[in-house]
């Protein structure tokens, strides 16, 4: 519709390096696809949450959660198949960049799910982006895998004691819903976040946990709580930007 602002020829800035075909075939697949790729999800987001949100763009046929290839637990992405192209388009248009489970998610057309694509492509089993991250992201298993390993090694040598990590920055400034003439209700938002994320990590209690092997969830959560006492950033590791040399992400980061 609004062709003024969208380069219609360019449907996606990403290119899946594992796509078995030419760039034209890739774009053609994207233009006709009824599958979308969802990224930057929390590891704790369930299929039912995904269903509730994405069914608002149309009837969903199938959801495939992306899994860590070692632990078989969700690793922060998924594929959603719709029945119609229009619905897939609407989900890309209207859901990408909005919040699911406190995180801004990314929704893009995907060239079509094939068996095997549900596994993370990072060295440690998850997504490549979680290999090298140096930030602390409690929704995605804490620090990046490399940082975690390094911290593990350091812990052998130094005792950090018990410090607090401090609040995780809110995704968005909280709105104030005060009556327009009466000022706001004094409801700051940020003090809640640290706690929210801790709650999140206790969601194993939930009866609805997917049936990915239990022990890995436990291990994951232990590891997380260990790292809660770690410093927020380790300058000795690469920033996430210069990391994608070897095994690529499901899609390359947008340039």
């Amino acid at each position: 519709m609004a062709s003024l602002f969208k380069d219609l020829a360019k449907i996606s800035a990403y290119r899946d390096r594992r796509f078995p075909g030419t760039q034209e075939e890739f774009e053609d697949a994207l233009l006709r696809s009824i599958t979308v790729y969802v990224g930057n999800m929390s590891f704790y987001t369930t299929e039912e949450q995904v269903y509730e949100l994405f069914s608002r763009a149309g009837e969903i046929k199938k959801i495939v959660m992306g899994l860590d290839k070692n632990s078989k637990t969700p690793c922060g992405f998924c594929f959603i198949m719709y029945y119609s192209r229009d619905d897939a388009e609407d989900s890309v248009k209207y859901i990408s960049g909005t919040i699911l489970d406190d995180r801004p998610i990314r929704v893009d057309f995907d060239w079509g799910f094939q068996e095997g694509r549900q596994w993370g492509r990072g060295r440690s089993g998850g997504q490549v982006r979680d290999e090298y991250r140096t930030d602390y992201d409690p929704g995605r298993g804490g620090y990046g895998k490399l940082v975690q390993k390094e911290l593990e090694a350091q812990r052998q040598l130094v005792d950090y004691g018990t410090g607090s990590l401090g609040a995780y920055p809110p995704v968005m400034p909280p709105p104030h819903y005060g009556r327009h003439n009466g000022g706001n209700h004094g409801r700051g938002g940020s003090y809640r976040h640290g706690r929210d994320y801790q709650r999140k990590r206790h969601r194993e209690d939930d009866h609805h946990r997917p049936d990915y092997p239990k022990r890995t969830y436990d291990r994951e959560s232990r590891r997380n709580s260990d790292h809660e006492s770690r410093p927020e950033k380790n300058p000795r590791f690469r920033e996430s930007g210069d990391s994608d040399e070897e095994d690529d992400d499901d899609r390359k980061r947008r340039t």
Partner: protein, 861 residues
């Protein structure tokens, strides 16, 4: 993007392209000097881009119009082509009924007139053709009054141009424009007033019958335009850039504009009656829908104090941006907040977006689009907009008892989604009082359903925490527990059944096939235990295996669905199946809905069985206190409808391919024939037919083309057979749905509607209805007054005093109306059957009214 493009695109915006200079005049000068040079060597690029800008950013048309006026001074040829092309586009849009394009192009022409690019009288000629088409349409003898929607739209288009060029027209061609105005007035006097009954967001039953005093959309616009005229055509919302350049523009040559012709009447003239009229009217209203229905949710002391016409213009701007910038998040939000008007309009903006979100029967885009726009605006105007949105929510909440059921559902979905994007922060303590209301009170149900949807988008503990300022509201949270498996070890269930369930689980673990499971069921279980126990064991156990996630459910249904299908072949058995599902998932409305939906997808459950289950006693009891049964019913109807509309799409695409295939086949045939009929010389002898190799090749082409044609034809026939079945299926579904509604409503309505009304008498929001004659309304004038002056009742909380039965009836009637309205196009196709089998003499007047309203069918025919 090359710089002339970005200058054109960003014209009128405070942006780096213009070095932050927001002065329109300077911008036009800068843009003009660049574009005029660009035209010299790349006219073919500038031409379409300029038109595109004007058409897709219509709030900036005055700037583009002035620019074109300046270009006209030195490049008449370029501008003349532009005018010509616009006229062609307008003609095309009229023929194809593209409402937005028609409206925008007329505005564009008006602005070009202001910039001396076209003759004012040429514009008037276009007005007059639309006017005369409209007048003919509503003429009882010469026209087709059922198509009034199109006529009204044409008149709306004419009136909508006047804020942009009324002053100029009155100054330059006073007599001609006066003639148009008189014509519009005459048109208004012969058309029928349009009733909002059935499509108004608020249930104003008394007003629909009081229609005499209410202006409809066109009359309202007319009064705004008259007000504008009384003010000497001065308004604030339209920038009048051409005035700054008037000295230059007067020198321009005004171009000719060919007249346009409106499409023929869509059928033979004459006033139809009854069903045929209703059907055509429905079709016309679908093609030429009313763009907005004002909600008036904010009290007048809150909204911006605007002239009537300014309000109209800003609404136009906002709706245009919403329409043309759909899918461009950043730009959409930026243009919404940056309209070229010298006043604030946050309240108007919020109200306009809500009017779209709640527009009946359907908003132009999916509701989730407006969710996104509101989120983006809250981020773009963090200081002002969230509070305005909160004000709108409060206003709608205060009026929720009168809000249409469909609108309530949309509001619940929107609000929960919105809050999920803002950390679920909401001053719930304001609404804690709903706990004192009966459990069927609409406000209480609203809070409960919002919380339900929040939990679905997030998780129970998180939402529990979000209501910590009103902890008592926990009572309204959905149950926390997981599935209720009948045969879980802890329970004291029957040991034999539990053993069977374990055995079945082992079969699944052992990857037994569905066929093996079926014979196990048929040989070992069913004969000994009977249907009910067998069904319980099979369904509960399979659901339990599939309970971990949506995907687990699908997997188990794909693998073992046949076992269930084999057991539940008729509606009775399928109703029992649904009962097992709802018992297993009693703590999760979402999983109940998903499981039933999937089972319908795999055709384990028919839509008729779902209707029967929804209208079973257990569910009837919660019609007014929960959205859950309605959600399941909505899913079932929409799935059936999706099947039929997919088939229609496939058929129309097959029909297109048939035309292509026929063409290809006949071409190949002709080629072969002409080759065969040619004489050629082989071995010195004249032989009929060309080179045999070529003939052979052509023959195979022709055969293949023919085959292709036949195969497309065959698949078309197959699809048409499927469609015929689907049409029967949907007709059966609607008949069963209506009969279920009627049966369910009969007794409660009889009990609840004392004195023919459903609301306590004397109450301001009476859904009063006179049963003897529903077109005459008893209205307590004194009671009506206060409601009018505080349309949203903000601050004053209306006492809720409906008893359970009354509320049950109102809710159920509301859903009846909503279903009818949503599928009106389908239902109109089966209306004869509906009239014969459902809407009989003894149908309760309120039921009849709900259905008629939903169809927008006049009650008094």
């Amino acid at each position: 993007m090359s710089s002339w493009r970005s200058l054109l695109l960003r014209l009128g915006e405070k942006c780096p392209e213009y070095a932050g200079n927001a002065d329109f005049k300077d911008q036009i000068d800068a843009c003009h000097s660049l574009v005029r040079r660009e035209i010299e060597h790349s006219e073919d690029d500038v031409f379409p881009f300029l038109l595109q800008c004007a058409e897709q950013l219509p709030h900036k048309i005055p700037l583009y119009g002035t620019l074109i006026g300046l270009l006209n001074l030195e490049n008449e040829e370029f501008v003349s082509k532009l005018v010509e092309s616009t006229q062609i586009n307008l003609q095309d849009a009229l023929e194809t009924g593209q409402c937005n394009k028609i409206r925008i192009l007329m505005r564009f022409l008006t602005v070009l007139m202001c910039s001396k690019v076209i003759q004012p009288s040429a514009l008037v000629v276009i007005f007059e053709s639309l006017l005369s088409s409209a007048a003919t349409t509503v003429d009882e003898e010469k026209g087709i009054p059922s198509w009034q929607a199109r006529a009204d739209f044409y008149i709306t288009c004419i009136l909508s141009c006047l804020p942009w060029g009324g002053a100029e027209l009155v100054e330059q061609v006073p007599e001609e424009i006066e003639r148009v105005m008189v014509g519009v007035e005459a048109y208004l006097s012969i058309r029928r007033r349009v009733s909002d009954a059935g499509v108004s967001a608020f249930e104003d039953i008394e007003e629909t019958n009081n229609v005499v005093n209410e202006k409809d959309f066109l009359e309202d616009l007319w009064s705004r335009v008259q007000d504008l005229s009384n003010r000497g055509w001065k308004l604030d919302s339209v920038p009048r850039l051409h005035l700054s350049f008037e000295a230059q523009l007067v020198a321009g040559k005004s171009h000719d504009l060919s007249p346009v012709s409106c499409p023929e009447q869509p059928g033979p003239p004459g006033a139809l009656s009854g069903i045929a009229f209703g059907r055509q009217k429905h079709e016309a209203e679908l093609k030429y829908p009313q763009r907005i229905r004002r909600l008036n949710i904010f009290p007048s002391n809150k909204t911006e104090d605007l002239q009537p016409i300014d309000r109209f213009v800003v609404e136009e701007y906002l709706l245009d941006v919403l329409f043309f910038l759909n899918g461009c998040r950043k730009e959409c939000a930026a243009y919404m907040v940056g309209l070229p008007v010298p006043f604030r309009y946050e309240y108007l903006m919020a109200e306009t977006i809500f009017s779209q979100l709640l527009l009946l029967p359907q908003p132009p885009f999916r509701p989730i689009y407006y969710t996104l726009v509101i989120i983006d605006l809250c981020k773009a105007l963090p200081g002002a907009f969230p509070a305005v949105i909160a004000g709108a929510v409060r206003a709608l909440f205060d009026k929720i008892t009168d809000l249409d059921m469909e609108c309530r559902t949309r509001l619940i979905l929107w609000f929960s989604h919105h809050l999920s994007n803002f950390q679920f922060i909401w001053p719930w303590e304001e609404w804690a009082y709903v706990l004192d209301l009966p459990k069927w009170a609409p406000q209480r149900v609203f809070v409960q359903e919002v919380l339900e949807r929040e939990v679905r988008l997030s998780y129970w503990d998180k939402i529990k925490q979000s209501i910590e300022n009103a902890p008592a509201l926990e009572e309204l949270l959905p149950p926390r527990g997981g599935p209720q498996f009948k045969y879980s070890a802890e329970d004291g269930t029957d040991p034999t059944e539990r053993a069977l369930s374990l055995e079945l689980k082992d079969m699944v673990k052992g990857r037994k096939t569905a066929r093996e499971m079926i014979s196990w069921v048929e040989e070992n279980v069913f004969p000994a235990h009977g249907f009910d126990i067998t069904l319980g064991v099979v369904v509960q156990t399979l659901l339990d295996i599939g309970s971990k996630s949506f995907t687990h459910l699908i997997t188990v249904l794909e693998r073992y669905g046949q076992v269930i299908a084999k057991m539940c072949t008729d509606d009775d058995q399928q109703v029992k199946l649904i009962m097992e599902v709802s018992s297993y998932w009693q703590n999760s409305a979402q999983m109940t809905a998903i499981a039933i939906d999937r089972m319908m997808s795999y055709r384990l459950i028919s839509n008729l069985a779902i209707v029967r289950w929804v209208f079973s006693p257990l569910n009837l009891d919660r019609f007014h206190v929960s959205d859950s049964p309605w959600e399941i019913l909505r899913n079932a109807v929409s799935k059936t409808y999706n099947r039929i509309s997919d088939l229609r799409k496939e058929i129309s695409s097959l029909e297109r391919s048939i035309v292509l295939a026929e063409r290809a086949a006949s071409r190949a045939g002709e080629e072969l024939e002409s080759a065969e009929s040619k004489l050629s010389v082989i071995d010195g002898e004249p032989v009929l037919g060309e080179n045999p190799v070529r003939i052979k090749r052509l023959k195979s082409y022709a055969e293949k083309a023919k085959e292709e044609e036949v195969s497309v034809r065959e698949s078309l026939e197959a699809k048409e057979a499927l469609l015929a079945r689907a049409v029967d299926e949907i007709e059966a579904l609607f008949l069963s749905l209506y009969k279920s509604f009627l049966t369910a409503l009969a007794e409660p309505l009889h009990d609840a509607s004392r004195d023919g009304t459903l609301r306590p008498s004397g109450h301001a929001d009476d859904m009063t209805i006179d049963l003897e004659d529903s077109s005459v309304m008893e209205l307590d004038k004194d009671d009506e007054q206060p409601k009018k002056s505080h349309p949203n009742g903000s601050g004053e909380r209306k006492g809720y005093n409906l008893d359970e039965k009354q509320q049950w009836c109102l809710t159920t009637l509301g859903y009846l109306k909503a279903f009818t309205r949503q599928y009106a196009s389908e239902i109109w196709q089966h209306i004869e059957k509906l009239d014969a089998e459902v809407l009989t003499e003894d149908t309760h007047p309120l039921v009849r009214k709900a259905i008629y309203c939903g169809l927008r069918r006049p009650l008094e025919e």
